[in-house]
Point group: C2
Chain length 331, copies 2
Amino acid sequence: MSDSILTGDRPTGALHLGHYVGSLQQRVALQKKFPQTILIADMQALTDNGTDLKKVSQNIIEVLADYLAVGIDPTKTTICQQSALPALAELTMFYANLVSVARLERNPTVKNEIASKQFGDSIPAGFLTYPISQAADITAFRATLVPVGDDQLPMLEQTNEIVRKVNRLADKHILNECKPLLSNVSRLPSVDGKNKMSKSLGNTIMLSSDEAEIRQSVKSMYTDPNHLRVSDPGQVEGNVVFTYLDAFHPDSHYVTQLKSEYRAGGLGDTKIKNILEECLQELIRPIRERRQVLMSDTSYLLGVLKAGTQKAQHVTSGVAQEIKAMYGLVL
Amino acid sequence: MSDSILTGDRPTGALHLGHYVGSLQQRVALQKKFPQTILIADMQALTDNGTDLKKVSQNIIEVLADYLAVGIDPTKTTICQQSALPALAELTMFYANLVSVARLERNPTVKNEIASKQFGDSIPAGFLTYPISQAADITAFRATLVPVGDDQLPMLEQTNEIVRKVNRLADKHILNECKPLLSNVSRLPSVDGKNKMSKSLGNTIMLSSDEAEIRQSVKSMYTDPNHLRVSDPGQVEGNVVFTYLDAFHPDSHYVTQLKSEYRAGGLGDTKIKNILEECLQELIRPIRERRQVLMSDTSYLLGVLKAGTQKAQHVTSGVAQEIKAMYGLVL
């Protein structure tokens, strides 16, 4: 059996350089090697945005434009909309009977996210149970490889527990276990070097940023606060400009050379920022331009999403049907 | 707006006299006055039978035969299969984001059921969240009247909370609130007078029971343990034979007369049991006979279920579509 990939995003905002480095580049490469599906996880996005009627829907088309603008090719990658695939909800319901509440509460990823989101006493039921919904997604697409950060490994473990339970119950192979495809890229820091990247905090560079925004972001970037004069020795570790140069500059030898100069003293922040800015302007310009063209033709974008969703409909409803058949419910 | 009714059963066993008195008779009467839907809740039945591959599916057809045998008329009442209606799963997912885990844990009905089922540390997530699924059912059929026992009132309260939340979010009337239709019939005791009626305990009379089984059940019925000789005064309260005579004998004056005779002494258990048996044989014979004919033609039964489910598909997916539209997800 050849591998197939499921990946996706919660459409809660347009994508930024962190997504570019963390997942988008990898997807562009992977689509040449594997069947790949990208799920725009609008249902999952609602698990902690259930009272916001606009946030999720507004961003579906933004995220889709980002995908195509960076080179994800809809003839190679199936891009689809979670809420338009009822089989995913059906599978979630079936699997929910095979997972205990206590097991969900022990899931480290969910535990951390619940802590960070400060729900207080009001954890939405849909949020606690979203690992089940994720298992539904992964199995519904018969995915065997799931690109994740290592903080997401407990989610795949929970998925595989469900897979094994179902296969044991059915006494045959119905669902595929999945393996993580761990990224070797570490998380890109925000421009301010402090917080998680977030559009609303203004500490990130979006794939849609214009020249002035990019310039402004690089200018405000966190460097070495003790590097007061050009001649002072500077610190490279924790210096966001160098982290970005590592991530985005095409010539790594040149970056190594810049680092020694900076450490020795004599290389100013303005200079390294200019180098970074030029490199980011070059990277983002064609993405932004393709993105603008795409966003001016939403009927094309919607067509891509609909075609992908229709294809996804076929495979996901097939899996739901198998689970129903296992329970003898196909009358 | 005229009222419409949703009711249903978890198909975990064929139906018995308790169902007949508690709900089936009422449904036969209600179908003449209201649009009525009966949901065969196979998904809900799986919330505590998720590892039993046969139990639920085997009983769908049994329950369906019971319905038609007692006079539920598929031209008046829509009978449908829950698992064949994906909109119900979709609505459950949407509503789950509007209900907190703590709120579910406070639901008295769920609390009691969890205690009685002895899940221990392994409460299935699907079981904890089934009030949400029930809200999905009720709202998906735009039901305004739900026949329930008073132990189920907290479920309707939880449904109406979701309804109000959705309508407030949408800032318009999307979902209907529902009202309970409380039965004035008290729960029929089991033949042994002790436990809950259960086919497996052999303490009930099924709608499919044959003459010998009915005779045997009535013979074994709990009466007054202190009524040793015919001439002794007997107790009517807690005497299962009299409870059944109250529930099933067509002539209540005659039953009142029997009670005074029994109380005074001089009326034997054998005599009252014979009277009850005759009355139950007459009640069940035509039901059993119709049931046998129906069970010999499963393709007819499946046809009824499919037609009802198709009709239900239309209304339920319409409601799911409205919720998706509220979130802007219909692209």
